[in-house]
Amino acid sequence: MTDETSTGERVLPPVPGTVREKLGQPAPPPEHDPVQGLAVVVGSRPVSAYTELTLEAPDIADVAQPGQFVAFAVGGPTSAMLLRRSIAIAGVGGGRFSVVVSARAAGSTWLAGLRPGDEVDVVGPLGRPFPLPAPGTPALLVGGGYGAAALVGLGGLLRSRGHEVAAVVGAGDEARLCSVDELTEVAAPFVVTTDDGSVGRQGRVTGPVAELVSGAGVVYACGPMPMLEAVAGLATDRGVPSWVAVEESMACGIGVCMTCVLPVVGADGRSRFARSCVEGPVFAGDRVRFRDVGTLPPDVVGADAMGVAHTPAIEGETP
């Protein structure tokens, strides 16, 4: 497939203050294969604008690592909604894992409506986890909206390994903030921002991130693409490595549908359309070509075979 999968070594970011001459290494693949099965819902609670589900699934919970996700089948066995819904794992423990569901359309609304005792078909853990930094490296976590949930497990793990952890979480308004209580326990300083100023500092996460990034040896971010682009840019500008967990629309979550691709610079310096599910969702922040997401850049491997100069964006095809 791609060269990223052939790098088995878990590469650590450099210590703070060293000049980074090369791009961050691709995140290594997970150690455990995913499993599929029915998980039992054991908890459901509203968390501001979202629903936190807790599910009993030891096969997944016992091996999942921070940054990984699960893919749910929605609507039951005869559902007309065929595509899996992929959601980051927010926490694990005691054979259980939790996810934060943002109910937007029919599939996520069905998920958010699950009640204790219900069963749901789930595949996981999926995707590449966040690589961990060298001992002693201070970390900055940055979460946008429900993307903050993906950082909770990481924050706890980093603290347990003795890392200093700072965090910034932001959202449009107070209701769309997520995982504030959990991150408060592990992060200091901990800064909350809202676009409307309903709680915390008014504005985007980028303000506090710009202030805190210089004290960090590594940045981890999860949230909307524009936020990831801005945060990765701030980190890269200051020579700090970053890892971003991207959100792309996925149909399967396991690497077979080829719908969740985005342009990523590979280990050989060439850009490819990488699958967010199996080559991500965690990428080195300086390898993702955020500006080119949703386009077909002419220098992506294989673009020459697409007749790219003639690809219409909107105008339509020749019938």
């Binding site: 497939m1 294969d33 995913p34 499993v35 599929q36 099965g37 029915l38 998980a39 009993e56 699934a57 030891p58 096969d59 997944i60 089948a73 007309a80 909604m81 065929l82 595509l83 899996r84 599939g107 078909d121 595949v123 792309e248 629309s249 149909a251 399967c252 396991i254 690497g255 077979v256 549908c257 080829m258 719908t259 969740c260 691709v261 985005l262 490819r272 359309f273 199996v278 997401v293 949703g294 386009t295 077909l296 992506v300 491997v301 294989g302 673009a303 020459d304 075979a305 697409m306 007749g307 003639h310 690809t311 219409p312 964006a313 909107i314 339509g316 095809e317 020749t318 019938p319």
Partner: protein, 332 residues
């Protein structure tokens, strides 16, 4: 957490039905295959079921050169289905021969290799390059991908163009490789295209490819897909696919058919077998259930047994039998 196979209540050892099937005369252990473009090159499904237990992995269409595929968004969910516009992203024939086929062969899995191109010579060269490749069961000639640069490249819309490609592939391919033509339902008379392919030397027919579709985002008020139009797949297209298999089997009863289009359960697969398919491919259902091919094999075996069939082969085309036979138990 319990394995999905146990909860589904099927036992892989139980069926006494002989499920051996044939692809263009070559025996396969199961009539259930994956579908091109829905299982990549098989590796990602390895954690979910034994790839050697199904008929074959039908690999994603390969072309001579690596292809990036199209810009995102590449898919949209639709009622009981989806439309996609991937644009045949893939490693090219070099990558397939160097990485994907050796991996499948080492796993003991058979590869039914889908090939695609924009010129007849491309198809022939691909068939030539695949001569003697390890673990290759045969070739599926994708003359019907809707996500190409122009509809003029959809060879399967035209019997003569289809025949030209199939004749060239049959001549260039390894004699041991059965060659199947993959057809589009987006034609007025699929039987004429099927007949042209068979007359040109195709050893079998794969039916159907996706139907050309469109979804518009009502917020942006523009088409959802980067490629504007895309291929519709999933259970929504199953009756169309079944009709194609039925019509072609009726007209060409001796031409083997690999049936596909919205198969999600063993009973769905049974419909295709009864309509005349000797084997089936499971495509979009894999996105919903990655273990679907193995599950559907077990469900189909059980369904055949429940209906008194001792062999899969006896059920192929059974729905075409004369009306008077339907009054009592079928005899075999």
């Amino acid at each position: 957490m319990t394995a999905a196979s146990e909860l589904a209540g099927f036992d892989l050892e139980a069926p006494s039905v002989d499920m051996q099937a044939s692809i263009g005369g070559r025996p396969v252990v199961s009539p259930v295959l994956t579908a091109s473009g829905c299982s990549s090159f098989g590796q990602e499904l390895d954690p979910f079921f034994d790839l050697a237990s199904i008929g074959a992995v039908v690999t994603k269409s390969v072309q001579l050169r690596p292809r990036s595929g199209r810009a995102t968004p590449r898919m949209a969910e639709t009622p009981s289905g989806m439309i996609n516009s991937i644009g045949l992203q893939g490693p090219g024939i070099e990558g397939l021969l160097a990485d994907e086929l050796p991996w499948l062969a080492a796993r003991g899995a058979q590869a039914f290799v889908s090939i695609a191109g924009s010129r007849t010579e491309d198809f022939a060269e691909l068939a030539e390059r695949l001569r003697g490749a390890p673990g290759v069961l045969g070739l599926e000639v994708n003359i019907s991908c809707p996500n190409v640069e122009s509809r003029g490249e959809v060879f399967a819309c035209n019997p003569d163009a289809s025949a030209e490609v199939l004749a060239a592939v049959r001549a260039a391919a390894d004699p041991a490789h059965p060659v199947y033509a993959k057809l589009t339902p987006d034609v007025t008379d699929i039987v004429s295209v099927a007949r042209a392919c068979a007359d040109a030397g195709a050893n079998g027919l794969s039916m159907i490819n996706t139907l050309l579709g469109l979804v518009i985002d009502t917020d942006t008020m523009r088409p959802v897909l980067g490629g504007v139009t895309g291929g519709l797949s999933g259970p929504a297209v199953r009756p169309v696919a079944l009709r194609c298999v039925w019509q072609v089997h009726q007209a060409l009863p001796n031409v083997p058919i690999l049936g596909m289009g919205g198969i999600r359960t063993g009973l769905d697969a049974l419909q295709f077998v009864l309509a005349g398919a000797g084997a089936v491919s499971v495509g979009t259902a894999v996105f919903n259930d990655p273990s679907a091919p193995a599950r559907i094999h077990a469900e189909l075996a059980e369904a055949l047994g429940e209906r008194g069939f001792g062999r899969l082969a006896d059920a192929i085309g059974y729905a075409h039998r004369a009306p008077e036979e339907s009054s009592g138990r079928h005899g075999r």
